[in-house]
Amino acid sequence: MANTSTHVAHDADHDHKPHGLKRWLFTTNHKDIGTMYLVFALLMFFVGGAMALVIRLELFSPGVQFVDPGFYNQMLTMHALIMIFGAVMPAFVGLANWMIPLQIGAPDMALPRMNNFSFWILPFAFTLLMATLFLPGGGPAGGWTMYPPLSLQGGDSFALMIFAIHLMGASSIMGAINVIVTIMNMRAPGMTLLKLPLFCWTWLITAYLLIAVMPVLAGAVTMLLTDHFLLTSFFNPAGGGDPVMFQHIFWFFGHPEVYILILPAFGIVSEIIPTFSRKPLFGYDAMVYATASIAFLSFVVWAHHMFTVGMPLAGQLFFMLSTMLIAVPTGVKVFNWTTTMWRGSLSFEPPMLFAIAFLFLFTIGGFSGLMLAIAPADFQYHDTYFVVAHFHYVLVPGAVFAIMAGVYYWLPKWTGHMYDMKLAKWHFWLSTISVNVLFFPQHFLGLAGMPRRIVDYNTQFTDWNVVSSIGGFVFGFSQLLFVWIIWKSARSGAKATAEVWDAQPSGLEWTVPSPAPYHTFDKAPEVR
């Protein structure tokens, strides 16, 4: 590619880059690619969010008012696929692209062209997925978990959804390989693994998880595909298959996947809390080992998603206890973050606010997870709104808040401008209050027995659904503030210093000027 060789040829000319569309199409620069990932994730966040608002609108009152049940099912399926694979995962990959080279003192990611490829696959994957909404019969409507035999009865959308998932998987695997090679091979001299910033550590472990389980998902959906079109019988009982086996294979991917969605969030929070507590992170080594333990345990707990399929007592006990065991390393993390803040000189800039909200609200999600881990209790909670409340607590004020904290933390480094702190605090308070109004009542609904994934509900559930929908709309529209703040910071604002925060954050990313030049660390820094 011409522009790459230009960079090598004119090494001294740091900001030389092609302009216009070509710059973005052919770029191999980790900062450009990181930006594209983040913008793409933000776009998908709004697409998936719009679908969530369709769901909340319909659930505002009992009965079927606004959308037909088939379309409702398409919305809930697409909302999940888009938020997981289109918003949260690309946002983390975008942050990794921007920050990992800056944090380890590397000039770029290890495999810049693959990096470009892994990003540009995504728009195609999601075009394919969203195009299904315009097919006769509409998009996939059997839930993002794609359980057969229901998913096999899907219409024309079935094959497109599976090809979209194959593409997303390929993109994630390439991204993961890139992260591992970068961290393993391109650290600045003196940066031993146990000096690695925690964001890099959590991403390194996440990348291994991705390589271990994304191919398993690819295999599972390939089996669905051959069952549907080539008359194999992996999951078809008439030919000797077993639909329950799909659930086992799917959740063997699915549980590590939920840690893929949260471990980088742990890393971001572990960067932010020490900065604004003006203390080093409490128990760095323990954090690393806790992350690794969580990753290891994620492989042996999958069947807690399917206690009700009929499992021997020994199986239920094993999966129940192994799931509860995860609370130990997670508890270590929560303890360390809290202890880092203990007697620190706290200040409450927007990234810190989001990080503290993460700490509280993620822990609530963790606790409801422990309740769900109790096999006999799970028979009551299974497939109710309690589960919906649980995973939205860990994913929205968990993963999404951590991403927002990270954006607010590093945004001045990217744009060179401070953003509007006052507006960002408005964004924080609106989001934090509304997210609780949105999801907390869903605990009550679930405990009272409201099933998930159904367009209509019994009138007894009306009140809390109204509250939840109001929270949903406030939360959704509050996010427009986020876009406005980022847009404004990209255009104008007070000049940011290299250190950005007067809390004197530690890390190599704060040694380069703001905005970070197009090429950084051409000469590797020395780390002591």
Partner: protein
């Protein structure tokens, strides 16, 4: 700057890396050198990904084996017991209710029902009942019945010496017939079980269904 290969690259799990790596000082960071340097690690990671893909498929036979070994589920008890192996030793003091249920997928074109809803039987004695099926489709169909027994813990005590579920059933257009099941409940059936339900799901065999569909022009 050291250009030496990171000895740990790609080796081991992240969990075991940190302790071993503390003494490592540097890896290559030069923008001009990296391609050759990264090759080995990239190859190993690609191999890892390919291995994970293969593992996904390996879970299929593994699932069968583990279910058999741990006696999970009751798909395994759908197999035929040879009539010659059955020793009748009726336990006339004990009565068990055997219920019969017939299911069809909701997109199928079968009439399918047991001739009797339940039987009261003595363990250790051979009985026979029949299920009625009629092909209501506009063409010939091949059906396959899949048995299931509840409670699943009693599945291994419920033996079938003859069953229409052992082979695919050919039905001409409009054909109807009674299909027999001969079964015996093992006297070792746990004492707390007084009711066993035998249910069949009658599927169109997918390998024939498509050909049939094409023939019907639907």
């Amino acid at each position: 700057m050291s250009e030496e290969r990171n000895p740990l690259a790609g080796g081991g799990t992240p969990a075991e890396s940190p302790a071993a790596a503390t003494s490592m000082t540097a890896a290559a960071g030069s923008p001009t050198a990296p391609r050759r340097l990264h090759g080995g690690l990239v190859a190993r990671l690609c191999l890892f990904a390919a291995g994970s893909f293969a593992f996904g498929f390996a879970l299929v036979p593994l699932y069968d084996v583990l279910c058999r070994v741990w006696e999970v589920g009751n798909r395994w008890y759908g197999e035929q017991t040879k009539a010659a192996d059955v020793v009748e030793r009726p336990d006339v003091a004990r009565l068990i209710t055997v219920e019969f249920i017939a299911n069809t997928p909701n997109n199928s074109r079968w009439d399918f029902a047991p001739q009797v809803a339940f039987m009261t039987v003595h363990p250790g004695k051979l009985y026979e009942t029949t299920f009625y099926a009629k092909n209501t489709a506009e063409h010939d169909v091949v059906g396959q019945a899949i048995p299931s027994i509840a409670p699943s813990s009693s599945a291994r005590y419920f033996q079938k010496t003859e069953c229409f579920c052992f082979v695919p059933q050919n039905f001409a257009k409009g054909e109807a017939r009674d299909m027999p099941v001969r079964f015996i409940v093992d006297p070792d059936l746990p004492a707390d079980v007084d009711r066993v339900t035998l249910s069949y799901s009658f599927f169109e065999d997918p390998r024939y269904a498509q050909a049939a569909k094409a023939g019907a022009g639907s």
